[in-house]
């Protein structure tokens, strides 16, 4: 292989890695800094102590995030799976409408989804809070859940459903004994993707959240607006460590999902 291509690509790769990790390393380093400033003054764990014991609002937001993520991922996975199965199994007039209208949220800018929901909640007089966040999160997770379960079912030979019928299975038996087991890897993947999307979301949540219903990203946002804070440095390290752990622990799971 050409040496200069290799050198150029190695250079770009190194630049990319430095670009990716230098900011994260700075956060890690200064989360152990004794003083509040971003100049090194000595090792300390006090910001982790603050994060654990003096950040009640933050932990409240973490709790909200967990409630929203679990509930909206469950509902969107359940509804998305049902629709994917229905559209795989049958042909009907509603199908086209569902396919188009559930694809659009994937490409429309997040802010439009947030703003339009906020305007509609205002119009119907709904109080902003955990319920409106749950509705918004389920709305943007549903298309992903539907897409993931559908692509799982698309790979799957429909004749096995016909075989189940020929052998005398009822609709319910075919659903529970054939279709659900077959789509299980897709259902798991849809649930995990929905949880991740929900935990990550800032923009849409920002518009539909009310007083007291802050999620973790919203809380981080309000902290960032006041500038650099060592407690956010410590929180960042916890979250980065979380994504490393998640990446490691889900490797096995992903292999399972891909293999099946």
């Amino acid at each position: 292989m050409a040496h200069d291509t290799r050198r150029t690509s190695l250079f770009a790769f190194v630049v990319t890695m430095v670009f990716f990790y230098a900011p994260l390393l700075v956060l890690v380093l200064f989360s152990f800094n004794e003083s509040k400033a971003m100049t090194w003054s000595g090792f300390s764990l006090r910001w982790y102590g603050d994060l654990l014991f003096h950040s009640r609002d933050l932990w409240h937001a973490v709790g909200n995030s967990a409630i929203i993520a679990l509930s909206s991922a469950s509902v969107s996975t359940l509804l998305g799976t049902l629709a994917a199965i229905g559209m795989y199994w049958y042909n009907f007039r509603l199908k086209n409408y569902v396919q188009v209208s559930s694809f659009l949220p994937l490409i429309i800018p997040e802010i439009i989804i947030g703003v339009s929901l906020l305007i509609m909640f205002g119009l119907t007089g709904m109080r902003l809070g955990l319920l409106t966040i749950f509705i918004a999160h389920t709305t943007f997770c549903l298309p992903y859940a539907l897409l993931i379960v559908t692509s799982r079912l698309d790979e799957f030979d429909y004749s096995i459903v016909e075989a189940a019928y020929d052998l005398g299975a009822t609709e319910a038996q075919t659903l529970l004994r054939v279709i659900v087991p077959v789509s299980l890897p897709g259902i798991i993947a849809a649930f995990l993707v929905s949880i991740t999307l929900s935990l990550e979301d800032f923009v849409i949540t920002f518009f539909v959240a009310g007083p007291g219903s802050s999620t973790l990203p919203l809380h981080v946002y309000s902290m960032i607006r006041f500038g650099v804070s060592p407690v956010i440095n410590a929180l960042s390290v916890v979250l980065i460590a979380g994504s490393v752990l998640l990446a490691f622990s889900t490797r096995g799971l992903f292999k399972y999902l891909i293999r099946n």
Partner: protein, 285 residues
Amino acid sequence: MRKNFGPAYTMPVAAWITGFFVIPLAVIFVYSFLKKGIYGGVVWQFSLDAYTALANRGLIVVAGKTLFQSATATILTLLLALPASYFIARSRYKNVFLFLVIIPFWTNFLIRIYAWIAILGTNGFLNGFLMSMGLIPEPFQFLYNQYAVIVVMVYTYLPFAILPLYATIEKFDFSLVEAAQDLGASKTQSMLRVLLPNIRPGIITAVLFTFIPAFGQYAVPQLVGGRDSFMLGNVIARELTVSRNLPLSSSISVVLTAITMIGVVLFVNLQVSAARNTPRTREPA
């Protein structure tokens, strides 16, 4: 004939998406043709005010800025992502390197923005470092301008560009490049005229994953941008929450949505024609 249960399975999703996505979009579409109420609401009277207001010079400048910032970020992202993903795909340790790309990809979006505030802010790491070295007498404002917005957007979207590019380069049959060189092509020629056209679907996906979200960006300019770098998303939010001009906020939303959809359709068409013209990937064994 079996009973058709399809609508029953699909009804919950159809109802949900209609109620919480289609109707809200329809509401802002209708609002964009109404008159602004004095106290922030709307007056139910047909008007094109919100669209004529789009011709405002300030808004056109913001639209230009939005296009410039998202296009520059996309180009820079591609310039880094193309060779970097080439390197990963050609490497013996591709699994390790992919893992290194996925970690920032999974790190919270706001934390990734915050990392840059911690570095570039007036009380940030870089200013502290430069001042302790005696290079600058007082903190320099690196943030709150369009360069900061572009850098942070590149940082945010780079993993989204590397992953699809990696996936297509990984499938590319490199004996074609060798063949081109055996036939007398230079190294550069073989890269530009054999590799690049063959990985076009990956490039288009990378552009789609970068440009579309960058164009509708709200959080990055809000946190690291200044008056010179606000984007359409920020104007929508400002008109809605500060000026309480619902029709204008709605008309900008309609335009942003329309531009995004046209962009997606164009890219997807390019994608389809690229996929049709590039069958030269390795056959699965």
